[in-house]
Amino acid sequence: MISLKDVSKKFKTKLGTIIAVDDVNLDIKQGEIFGIIGYSGAGKSTMIRLLNGLEKPTAGQIIVNGKEITSINEEKLRQVRHKVSMIFQHFNLLWSRTVAENIAFPLEIAGVPKDQRVARVNELIELVGLEGRGDYYPSQLSGGQKQRVGIARALANRPEVLLCDEATSALDPETTDAILDLLVSINEKLGLTIVLITHEMQVIQKICNRVAVMEGGRVVEEGDVLEVFQNPQQPITKRFVSQVSEPTQTMQTIQNLVDIYPNGKLIKLTFVGEQTEQPILSRLIKQFELEVNIVQGNISHTKSGAFGTLILQIDGDALAVDEAIRFIHEQKVSTEVINND
């Protein structure tokens, strides 16, 4: 659907040349939700703007929907943009237009006749759940509602690709969830490819099939979300993964427990996919004469399966503890003894 070949983008500034995107190769498949994660300045904003020609690469090739968009003229690029639409962090709605008029704007640009526009706008208002708000102005809406308008507007010309530029970063966690649900339902209902950039691992975890991690303009890691969660390679990826799986206070808690129960063993279990469904803990308690204390637990649901960690404090006969660990290991759950001194 989208493919980038050796793409670089350099900006010339007074302070010298900045390499925003550095020799990137990517393939995004039809119908998937592809996430690009990175801290600010990693080049992800430039990257997403390369995909609809808002930025031109200094080197390389970008093919969107079978069209090479780096070499085509303005007129053809405008046609491409009808099918590759975009939503934004700050929504970027026209304040002078009502909700319905904002959604109608891309249809006006594409030259859709008025009666068809009205029908399409009503359809879209319903799709994004803004019934009855058609005559409101953006200033009368909440952030989440504004993003719904942004999404409806982006879908107006029945695009094949939806680019999301930090679409939930300005929203509170609850609204973020609702907007992400909407994106997933659109992806499933309309089969369109979604490319999103974000700095929040929660967003990747919740809706993406695949993820690329960007740092310093380069894609440093790429793969299925579940794989990346299980087995992050790069330090930056590990940092992002720990955003969702290990709250910062964990280490402190463990230290406290080590102090309180010097005899116990702290074990970190990592569950992936099917194992999260199994009642390992209750079997463990039934089979072994041990005290089992849950220090911390966290199961994250990614789009392609669940991923979780559980930190247990196990106390009792040393032999039984060893056997218990072996038992857990047999369940294909990876274990790690934290205070093995």
């Binding site: 609809n52 943009r81 009808h82 975009m86 709605l93 026209l94 200033s139």
Partner: protein, 222 residues
């Protein structure tokens, strides 16, 4: 009562002068709005990162705007006498004031248009581009509607300046309340005539400001 306070005022003449002022203000405001908008749009669109980004065109337009904005109006009128004569074949009467009024006010308004356009959220322009909008679509459907409150309050201020300019245009015999106050009031030492002309100009200014404020409030949906 009013005749004892203003004994020397020739009311039909005063009324005629008021209508002339109104006529000059209205026509010059419309012309100024058109030329000022065009200049302001050129200034904006030729600036860096915009659709027609062009250093030379931007510098040239900016220079023209600054030169005409800096010349004191009273001097501009005199400088433009040959041009007006060439254009209209006369330098007398309300119509003869238009070249000076528009050339004096349009650059002033162009600057205000530019300020209004610069205040538009860059993200909104980017969104329009991402939808595949042409520059003409961006001008008519984004730039102008999104800056409309600023454009209206700008033209209100400009219109009020133009009322003042029409009075000054009296020195080239443009007519209107300015000429009346100068010739019939000041030069013949009839203070009441000057005062009455001033009162009428004040009323006109208040009405313009009131209309401008009302329209701005009504169209601003932010």
């Amino acid at each position: 009562m009013i005749n004892t306070l203003f004994p020397n005022v020739d009311w039909p003449k005063m009324w005629e002068a008021a209508l002339e002022t109104l006529y000059m203000t209205a026509v010059s405001t419309i012309l100024t709005a058109i030329f000022g908008l065009a200049l302001g749009l050129i200034l904006f669109l030729t600036s860096p990162h915009q659709a027609w980004a062009n250093k030379l065109a931007n510098w040239l337009t900016g220079a023209i705007v600054n030169i005409f904005r800096s010349i004191p109006f009273i001097i501009l009128i005199i400088l433009l006498i040959p041009f007006t004569k060439l254009l209209l074949d006369t330098i007398r009467g309300p119509n003869a004031a238009f070249p000076a009024l528009v050339i004096g006010a349009a650059p002033f308004y162009a600057r205000m248009v530019l300020i209004g356009l610069r205040e538009i959220d860059k993200g909104v322009l980017e969104a329009a581009r991402s939808m595949g909008a042409k520059t003409s679509t961006i001008i008519w459907k984004v730039l102008l509607p999104e800056s409309l409150p600023a454009l209206v309050s700008g033209i209100t201020v400009t219109c009020i300046s133009l009322v003042g300019y029409t009075a000054m245009a009296g020195i080239i015999g443009a007519g209107g309340l300015g000429t009346l106050a100068f010739l019939d009031g000041f030069q013949r030492n009839r203070t009441d005539v000057t005062l009455m002309a001033t009162i009428l100009i004040l009323i006109l200014v208040f009405i313009i400001q009131w209309i401008g404020d009302m329209v701005t409030t009504k169209i601003d949906k932010r």
